[in-house]
């Protein structure tokens, strides 16, 4: 197992009255695998993945859990150890590529700088490496692009630069956090194709954080669904799309499946995370919620429903049968 995260919890806000961030999340990624982490915005998927790099936004705190990478425990690393680890063992590609690049420096220099932070290399060697990476991620005319500033690049191009930076030290794992959400459809497909191609070429695993199940279906091997800071479903991709077993997954699917079945949709907007309801966090919005099954009172565990498919729903059987099985093969 390349990455193993166990019971990871993150809190936001003040210490006395923390906001619920991410709670007891466990997942794993093996070598060469492409894993999708999906959820609505605010479900905690990005926070969980950033935490793997020891980073949090807006004063979040990692309060509990374990993150093991190639068997080594990461939580508890010193600042310097983290610095050496980030970028060299795990690369990150973020959502808004142009904001993630330093606006006043040439992109080639930025790639080289990361490379030189982790590897002993002369400036000339680092420049060579940068050009090589630009070629690798599918940028035509790398010499010219090397000297460009971020604001001169299109979104797709900037995203490729980030991929080049993330890959500069050939990390074992690449985390891509909504890598294409700001891009147009045709560009999105190109970037994702290239992302899949290069991770295969360098032999990395890929964690693809997204809200788009289309991306998961087309690129991932396994999938974790997050909701209200928890993992609510995990499965391999075939089994998941054949018979999803959690209402949150159904809700994500309903939009993209041209299904207008009101009965399967979640009601209302995601809840304020300061006060979570008792029982299943989703029950106020869930069309399947049911007093008899304990949805309002008992927080559901991750039920194992066979072949590595798990669902955090008391009524997973009903949910599985709700969608007409479109892919009888699985």
């Amino acid at each position: 197992m390349l990455l193993e995260v166990k019971d990871l919890s993150i809190e936001y806000g003040s210490v006395g009255a923390p906001n619920h961030g991410v709670c007891a999340v466990s997942f794993s990624i093996s070598e060469g695998e492409i894993v999708g982490i999906v959820g609505e915005s605010g479900s905690g998927k990005s926070s969980a993945m950033l935490a793997v790099l020891g980073l949090t936004r807006e004063g979040g705190r990692i309060v509990n859990g374990s993150v093991r990478f190639e068997g080594q425990e990461l939580l508890g690393l010193t600042r310097e150890e983290w610095r050496a680890f980030r970028g060299s063992s795990i690369g990150l590609v973020t959502q808004s590529p142009r904001a993630a690049l330093n606006p006043v420096r040439r992109v080639g220099e930025q790639i080289a700088e990361v490379y030189r932070s982790h590897r002993k290399a002369t400036k000339a060697q680092a420049r060579e490496r940068a050009l090589e990476l630009l070629r690798l991620v599918g940028i035509n005319d790398p010499e010219r692009r090397h000297d460009a500033y971020p604001h001169e690049l299109s979104g797709g191009m900037a995203q490729r630069i980030l991929i080049a930076i993330a890959l500069s030290c050939t990390p074992k794992l690449l985390i891509a956090d909504e890598p294409t959400s700001g891009l147009d459809a045709t560009v999105q497909a190109q970037v994702l194709d290239d992302l899949r191609r290069v991770t295969r070429e360098v032999g990395s695993s890929l964690a693809l954080v997204t809200h788009d199940l289309g991306i998961v279906a087309n690129y991932c091997d396994r999938v974790y669904v997050m909701e209200s800071g928890e993992i609510v479903e995990e499965s391999d991709v075939e089994s998941f799309f054949a018979r999803p077993a959690h209402p949150a997954s159904l809700a994500l699917l309903s939009k993209q499946q041209d299904s207008q079945d009101e009965a399967l949709r979640l009601r209302g907007a995601p809840l304020d995370r300061i006060v979570l309801p008792s029982g299943c966090f989703l029950h106020p919005r869930c069309p399947f919620a049911d007093q008899a099954s304990g949805c309002m009172t008992e927080h559901p565990p991750l039920y194992d429903i066979g072949a590595g498919h798990r669902s955090r729903c008391h009524r997973h059987q009903t949910v599985r049968d709700a969608l007409p099985s479109r892919y009888a093969s699985a």
């Binding site: 950033l50 790099l53 980073l55 936004r57 983290w82 610095r83 050496a84 680890f85 980030r86 970028g87 060299s88 690369g91 990150l92 973020t94 808004s96 904001a99 993630a100 690049l101 330093n102 606006p103 006043v104 420096r105 700088e113 990361v114 030189r116 932070s117 982790h118 500033y149 604001h151 001169e152 980030l162 930076i165 993330a166």
Partner: protein, 336 residues
């Protein structure tokens, strides 16, 4: 870059002409009559006419303005009505003192404000941060001339460690022969260490006073700018790529200081005139004091000269800062 400089220079000249024209016309339409003041209120009409002719006031306003502007382009600012000396020479004599005062104050202020602003930003929300913010709010809203007096009271009268506010040198001490007109530089070049120290001691309080007031806005700007950079997506990303500590610090400085420099340029221009107050308090014979004194005696050529001179200098500062900014931030280069 070259086109940027050329473009800016194209704006500078008309601006300068405009400013010269405005101040020239303003002085002549204001209800103060120089002939009255120079010839005396009870002068005979003949004397008045003579004075008028001497001052060139008998010609039409347009002609006067034209010849004044033409003179400026040849570096001739006219002759003072008070002393009959060329205004340019009088200004050259006084300007270096003002410039030394302001430049020193800026260096001191930046040397305090940048580390303070950075420390404040680095510990956002802490006691240090709150104290720094309260301080910058306070310092930025203070009358410098009053603080000058306070410092005088403390350091001259009470503690007696700094000299009386009577010019830049202790009376009786000989100024070094002029080379650059900057007394500190001249003293160093001539090797007159005693003069150098004496001048520095005389400049200490005015510099501290100005620097104190300047630290307010500078600290605030540094803090804001560093904070917005350190919270930016690209710094988070740099952190996530394990960029070395040194490289991170370099980014923080380079990206964070550009706005501070621009602010500094604006204040520099503003302070050229504003220094008149401090120069008055410490009896420093600089350009600001010169302007006030000459306005009080209706010496129009001198006043005009100061305004044009200061404007030109401020525009030059803006130009330099703009170029510096463009060098620091490529986005500016392209939007021009």
């Amino acid at each position: 870059m070259k086109t940027l400089i050329l473009k800016r220079l194209c704006f500078v000249l008309p601006q300068l002409v405009l400013v010269a024209a405005v101040v020239f016309v303003l002085l002549r339409i204001l209800p103060v009559d120089p002939v009255d003041r120079i010839a005396g209120q009870f002068a005979t009409p003949e004397l008045r006419a003579q004075v008028e002719e001497e001052l060139g006031l008998d010609r039409s306003l347009g002609t006067q303005l034209g010849s004044y502007l033409a003179g400026i382009f040849q570096g001739d600012f006219g002759t003072s009505w008070l002393t009959s000396d060329p205004v340019r020479e009088e200004m050259v004599e006084r300007f270096p003192l003002t410039l030394q005062l302001i430049t020193l104050a800026f260096f001191v202020a930046l040397a305090i404000a940048i580390p303070l602003g950075r420390a404040s930003a680095a510990r956002e929300g802490s006691r240090v941060d709150k104290a720094a913010q309260s301080y910058s709010l306070f310092a930025g809203a203070q009358p410098d001339f009053w603080w000058g007096l306070m410092f005088l009271f403390l350091f001259f009268f009470k503690a007696g460690i700094l000299p009386a506010p009577l010019g830049v040198l202790t009376p009786g001490r000989q100024a070094p022969d002029e080379i650059t007109h900057f007394i500190l530089l001249d003293a160093l070049i001539r090797g007159q260490l005693g003069v150098f120290v004496d001048a520095l001691r005389h400049l200490a309080l005015p510099v501290i006073t100005l620097a104190f007031v300047l630290t307010g806005p500078f600290t605030k700007m540094t803090r804001q700018s560093v904070l917005s950079v350190s919270k930016s997506e690209y710094m988070l990303y740099a952190d996530a790529t394990g960029l070395s500590e040194r490289a991170m610090k370099r980014s923080l400085l380079r990206n964070g200081l550009a706005p501070v420099l621009t602010l500094a340029a604006i204040f520099f221009g503003f302070l050229l005139g504003g220094a008149a107050l401090i120069e008055t308090v410490f009896t420093l014979n600089g350009l600001g004091l010169y302007a006030v004194q000459r306005m009080l005696v209706v010496d129009f050529p001198a006043v005009q000269g100061v305004v044009v001179w200061m404007t030109a200098f401020a525009l030059l500062m803006y130009l330099i800062m703009d170029l510096l900014y463009a060098a620091l931030d490529p986005r500016v280069r392209y939007s021009e």
